[in-house]
Amino acid sequence: MIGKPLKELGKALADKEISSVELTQLHLDRIARLNPEINAFITVDAEKSLAQARAADARIAAGLAGPLTGIPIAQKDIFCARGWRTTCGSKMLGNFVSPYDATVIEKFDAAGTVNLGKTNMDEFAMGSSNETSHFGIVRNPWDRSRVPGGSSGGSAAAVAALMAPAATGTDTGGSIRQPAALCNLTGLKPTYGVVSRWGMIAFASSLDQAGPMARTAEDCALMLNAMAGFDEKDSTSLERPTEDYTRDLEQPLKGLKIGLPKEFYGEGCDASVMARVQDAIAEYRKLGADTVEISLPNMQHGVAAYYVIAPAEASSNLSRFDGVRYGYRAPEYSDLADMYQKSRAQGFGAEVKRRILIGTYVLSHGYYDAYYLQAQRIRRLIANDFVEAFKQCDVIMGPTSPCTAFGLGEKSADPVQMYLSDIYTIAVNLAGLPGMSIPCGFSDLGQTRLPVGLQLIGDYFGEARLLNVAHRYQQVTDWHLQQPKE
């Protein structure tokens, strides 16, 4: 049962080949064995998980099961889950036991899934390597001397190492797609507003979006069916009719127009990554798709605009952590201002502080127009480029990450190098579009075999189409089925 797609697990549960308690225990056993080294989970609570599994078994026995009932899912530790410690990878929330559920958690509970534990992540989702977590680095199951990507690095490593059948992630600038690429997973960042942000600890509110990380596009579709939907508790949640994201999976791709932005295929991408991406494009042509060269001329400014907008929003969002109502409070202080300053200095790690400082600076008097408004204008230009591009094509394809998994510590000393690892993913968040990463082969470096991800970008609300495009490719390739050696 380990490593099976969600649909097969659902069938095995429905056919009583295995119970949810057994399935959950199998995964808990793997976590107990592998997690001490890989460190994909911050919190595991077997009692809680098994209690949910027993409830799921009762529901299955009563004939009330849905497609995901009884399946264990790992939850990124950014989602508040009632009674679970929810840390967001930070010392600031090291002892925070959430008194309420995120809407995403509520929805998974309603679907009858089992919360398998809370996965490691870059602190407050700020990072591309999972090295900024207060709870330690996560190792990439494909090469344990390398990073899993970030910020959803724990979720990626948990699924890649077969400790979880699937996991949730969040993506503000690439945090689902980049770790999916580096760990050989299928990951989807939906259109902004499709999945509720209620109870998902905020980083940059106009960019943050939750989505699934799993082995196959079909698994992602099943997960998104559970996650998506209007939520009145999230003021930016969109009121739209409910969709079945599996509905178009089998549609043929004949006549599909794939846009290849010339900006994705220039310098700056490792040759080994580009070769695999080109192979994938060739495979799509075999499936009947046509390609057209397009241009996203303003994408080159995406990283700069993002590192103004995201820190600006973060500096505002993270002002709530003041050591008064919840979270870390410094043990010693002289007065109220000193309590704030010491609690925040001790509770936040270096990268989070850096981004708060950038954000505070760009929003401060005299700099607002030059930085924040200029970045927002560039954001519009980038979004407009996509609108033009989608007049010529149905889906955009390119690399997810310019490189394969890099070594632990390789980029952590230089923030700018780290920021550039999201060069192909950031524009999608700025525009609010849906994006995916799917496995498209391996780069072979001597003995080391490292996964390469193909990025698919869709038009607004094009999730079902993206999943279809990914699924059909996965019917004729087996990259997504490759598993790391133990």
Partner: protein, 95 residues
């Protein structure tokens, strides 16, 4: 442009984050590297472009003003660093 040490200290103070002299020095180096990346943005002609604050151009939803949440003060305060008689305790601010 290039930031200065006093600017770094000032921004840290605005953000209510205590910063040591050594940290301020390291931070200055990192921030200047990041702002070199960001500065490239200034060369882009954005005349007449409306700033985009949000991914979807939708108006804020309005709702009826009614009580939707139950009072869960005890649960909420159970996770606070320090409370007394239903109140959050902070150092004295008025002498």
């Amino acid at each position: 442009m290039s930031l200065t040490l006093p600017q770094v200290r000032r921004v840290a103070q605005l953000a209510r984050i205590e910063i040591s002299d050594a940290e301020a020095e390291t931070t200055l180096g990192h921030l200047n590297g990041i702002f070199t990346l960001i500065e490239a943005m200034q060369a882009v002609d954005t005349n007449g472009i409306e700033p985009m604050a949000h991914a979807q151009d939708v108006a804020q939803r309005l709702r009826e003003d009614r009580v939707s949440e139950e009072n869960r003060r005890e649960a909420m305060q159970a996770i606070a660093p320090e409370t007394e008689a239903g109140l959050y305790l902070v150092p004295k601010v008025i002498e």
